[in-house]
């Protein structure tokens, strides 16, 4: 008896509590677009100062109150999904990739389809239509892509070691093997001990993550995620070249030319063995060259030149150069329909974004404020030294604001003047080498296609092959085991993915 009444009391209390929580939500943001709400990730230790000089200048240039919600990069995707489910949706949302979560939301109608709308805006009408297509969902453009240099793959090596051993910079994968072998066996640091290795590889193993494996496979001619064979698209790991490339990596591993803890080595420590004189080669994006040079410069400002050498993409065993490009973008700025409800509002937001991608704001985001943190010297932006307190804030803040830059019409800002003649020389060479490699780039033919099966379980599927690749290299399974894993990929749903991708590919022709 008493228990029944108790439970009744509990039910009443619960119901009240539920009503209370339900009342907590609500409050739709007003449709007044004098304020533009933006959600963006930040990769620095701290988000920018909300009333800092960059923010003020941005509001001055765009004529809007810009309210940016800076969200830590590591949890950005979660926060984005939670935000979309909430009632406080920003007008402009940085979407980092065509993740399954994004695709689902987009197909449910969460974002404006901008395919036919961007051409009216001079700063949004892209000069790289193929990249815009890569960033689309089966041809539908849901956002303004954030352009990134498509050609970034490079081989970095200890120039001082190379000179000491009297070797030449590698041009082919065969040369890479020889240099790695010499770095391992010929005591390049001259300390009389067998304590060096050739290439350092971190634990990045996911497919299509521009990891050293992906890059070497592409050099071998396996293609870039997908490749055309007999009039059909097949995943690059189904090619013979994929197996050949991994045999090559395995050979280097077996001969201890690669760090043995490659499956567990933390990617954030990638520079350490290079700098400390343990592992002499890194295969990664070319911007790491500057990072490495800076490490040596900080350690010894008087002797940092000629420590870091680099070349671009390497020729494969068949003598052909298959350079590894990225898809040319890093996410995009999308406009949610729930916050921007009418075509008129959309126009306002697009005009705002048009200003954001103009020369003035692009300069602000990438160079900073002239006279505060940089000065223009021979058409280049030179950092003002010594750094003033104001300049320091601007220098730190723009690293985050650059996340909002799209540069879909090319770089409308000053190239950065490097700190010394040597660094300027290296920088210019990087630009030159990458431009040359771009001519031999082999793109992912399926970048624009989103297959429903892949959305549902692509990451699990890809893990099958990615893990098998590492297991094969570590010697846990043999080549047959790797082939079996590829078969498992096909039977677990990969066949369907392939079918869907091919259909989308045929339709797009």
């Amino acid at each position: 008896m008493i228990t029944r009444k108790l439970s009744l009391a509990a039910a009443v209390v619960t119901a009240t509590a539920l009503t209370l929580t339900a009342c907590g939500g609500g409050e739709t943001p007003s449709a007044d677009l004098s304020t533009i709400n933006v959600m963006a990730p930040f990769l620095e230790a701290q988000p920018p100062t909300p009333d800092g000089a960059v923010q003020q200048k941005l509001e001055e240039l765009t004529g809007k109150d810009v309210n940016i919600t800076w969200t830590p990069n590591a949890s950005y995707e979660d926060k984005m999904n939670i935000t979309l489910a909430s009632s406080e949706i920003p007008h402009v949302l940085v979407v980092q990739s065509k993740s399954p979560g994004f695709v689902k939301n987009a197909e449910a109608g969460a974002f404006w389809d901008l395919t036919d709308k961007l051409d009216e805006y001079p700063n949004l009408k892209t000069t790289f239509p193929e990249v815009q297509n890569n960033a689309s969902v089966n041809g539908k453009v849901y956002g303004i892509f954030r352009a990134r240099g498509p050609m970034r793959a490079a081989v970095m090596f200890r120039q001082d070691w190379l000179d000491k051993l009297g070797l030449k910079a590698p041009e082919t994968t065969e040369d890479l093997y020889n240099v790695a072998k010499a770095f391992t066996e010929q005591d390049p640091d001259g300390n009389g001990q067998d304590d060096t290795w050739g290439i350092t590889i971190p634990k990045w193993g996911a497919l299509g993550s521009n990891s050293p494996y992906d890059i070497i496979e592409e050099w071998y001619g396996a293609g870039n995620r997908w490749t055309e064979k007999d009039g059909k698209l097949i995943p690059s790991f189904e090619t013979e070249e994929f197996l050949e490339a991994n045999r090559f990596v395995k050979k280097m591993l077996d001969e201890k030319l690669i760090n043995p803890d490659f499956a567990t080595f933390d990617g954030t420590k990638w520079n350490e063995p290079f700098f400390n004189g343990k592992g002499g080669i890194i295969v990664d994006v070319d911007s790491r060259v500057s990072v490495l040079i800076n490490l040596f410069k900080q350690a010894n400002p008087n002797d940092f030149e000629n420590k870091v050498g680099f070349v671009g993409n390497l020729k494969g065993p068949d003598g052909e150069l298959n350079a590894h490009p990225t898809d040319g973008y890093s996410g995009f700025l999308a406009i949610p329909k729930t916050s921007v409800r009418t075509e008129a509002e959309l126009k306002t937001v697009l005009e705002f974004l048009n200003t954001m991608n103009g020369k003035e704001v692009a300069t602000l985001f990438n160079n900073g404020i002239e006279g505060v943190n940089f000065a223009v010297e021979d058409g280049k932006a030179a950092t003002i030294k010594p750094e003033t307190p104001e300049g320091k804030v601007v220098n730190t803040d723009i690293k985050s604001y650059a996340q909002l830059g799209t540069n879909v019409t090319g770089n409308n800002f000053y190239p950065v003047k490097q700190a010394s003649d040597y660094e300027q020389k290296v920088f210019d060479k990087r630009v030159e080498v990458m431009a040359e490699d771009l001519k031999s780039a082999v793109y992912n033919p399926a970048a624009a296609f989103v297959s429903p099966t892949y959305v549902a379980k692509g990451a699990q599927l890809d893990n099958i092959v990615a893990d098998a690749r590492i297991k094969y290299l570590a010697g846990q399974i043999d080549e047959q085991g790797l082939k079996d894993a590829i078969k498992l990929w096909k039977t677990s749903g990969g066949d369907k993915v392939q079918e869907e991708i091919n259909k989308l590919w045929q339709d797009s022709k």
Partner: protein
């Protein structure tokens, strides 16, 4: 940690219940407080208003933070799209569960989870009791306190730190433990990536971090064992082990059973952080458990409905385990948890 708070909460709850009962016992006497009229709820409420007021914060807590969020569980039966919201997402019934059970990963996940759970239950749980018994036998107070504090400390380190320590100690070619063990045994084992060493490492970390903390409740129970029985046993000529076996262990039997039931209820919570941090491409085959799978599929792939279904399945198994152990405990003539 949550086990402990649950246990404490249930103890406190039990105390409250006892208080109410004794109150009622008094009420039955014809003397001071008049007999509670049982007919009207409002009168009943008025009579016990202070007790109900005491109850209110607890009920509110459970209602707001434990029951209200359960509304979200409904997405396990839907194809949830954040943009559409919980209500508007299409209803798919048991589709997510079917997909999960038909998935080739299912058997592997269940196996990995159960093996880790039983290892932790079979090794870490008895060790806690053994450590508590050992501490209890230490007569030198200062030594006992020092050791106690020392074994508690690891509990306050986060898993991130424990994992980093392990990475340093077992680092390939230069970790001190890597070098020591491999030199002594003459082997060449990479503990961090060898799948055969994943489970031992996890259990070792678990023991190192949590055993000391787990002794607290047993030590409290040990303090309540009747000292006269020990004296009697000494006079009868019982040695230390006899005393432990015949007096101490039976004395804390009910605590052991309560803790065991709680541990079994938590069994499938293999600890996301610990396992996630120790997983890599080479050991994923044995490392992936329900918790990490839910994160991988749900958070990184945005399959919220699917991963909710997986989580819900895990909770159901947990409930079955709790009731099962409780029934078993009762059957063997022990007091269960409820």
């Amino acid at each position: 940690m949550s086990q402990l708070t649950d246990a404490l909460a249930s103890n406190i709850g039990a105390g409250d219940g006892a208080g109410t009962e004794s109150g009622q016992g008094k009420a039955k006497k014809p003397a001071k407080p008049p007999k509670v009229p049982r007919g009207k709820f409002s009168i009943h409420l008025a009579h016990y208003k202070w007790l109900y007021l005491l109850l209110l914060p607890g009920v509110l807590y459970f209602a707001v933070f434990r029951y209200a969020p359960m509304y979200g569980v409904s997405i396990a039966f839907k194809d949830y799209v954040p943009f559409l919201g919980v209500n508007a997402s299409p209803w798919v019934g048991f589709q997510q569960f079917q997909d999960f059970f038909a998935n080739p990963d299912f058997g592997r996940l269940l196996g990995n989870t159960l093996i880790l759970a039983f290892l932790s239950l079979g090794i870490a749980f008895p060790l806690t009791i053994v450590l508590a018994l050992l501490l209890n036998e230490v007569r030198l107070s200062i030594l006992k306190r020092t050791v106690q504090t020392l074994v508690y400390i690891p509990h306050f380190l986060s898993w991130t730190i424990v994992a980093s320590l392990s990475f340093l100690l077992f680092a390939l070619d230069f970790g001190p433990l890597f070098l020591f063990i491999n030199n002594v045994l003459g082997t060449d084992i990479d503990f961090l990536s060898d799948p055969a060493w994943f489970r031992p490492l996890i259990v070792l970390q678990d023991i190192w971090k949590n055993t000391g903390w787990g002794t607290i409740i047993f030590l409290a129970a040990l303090a309540t064992v009747d000292q006269d029985q020990y004296e009697a046993a000494i006079i009868d000529g019982a040695g230390r082990f006899r005393r432990v076996w015949h007096i101490t262990l039976p004395g804390i039997r009910s605590t052991i059973i309560v803790m065991l039931i709680l541990a079994i209820g938590q069994m499938l919570n293999t600890g996301f952080e610990q396992i996630y941090l120790m997983t890599n491409a080479l050991n994923r085959g044995v490392a992936e458990v329900f918790d990490t799978y839910v994160y991988f599929v749900g958070i990184t792939q945005g399959a919220y409905s699917y991963s909710t279904a997986v989580g819900l399945f895990k909770s159901l198994v947990g409930i079955v385990l709790i009731f099962g152990t409780n029934a078993l405990a009762k059957r063997f003539n022990q007091s269960g948890l409820f």
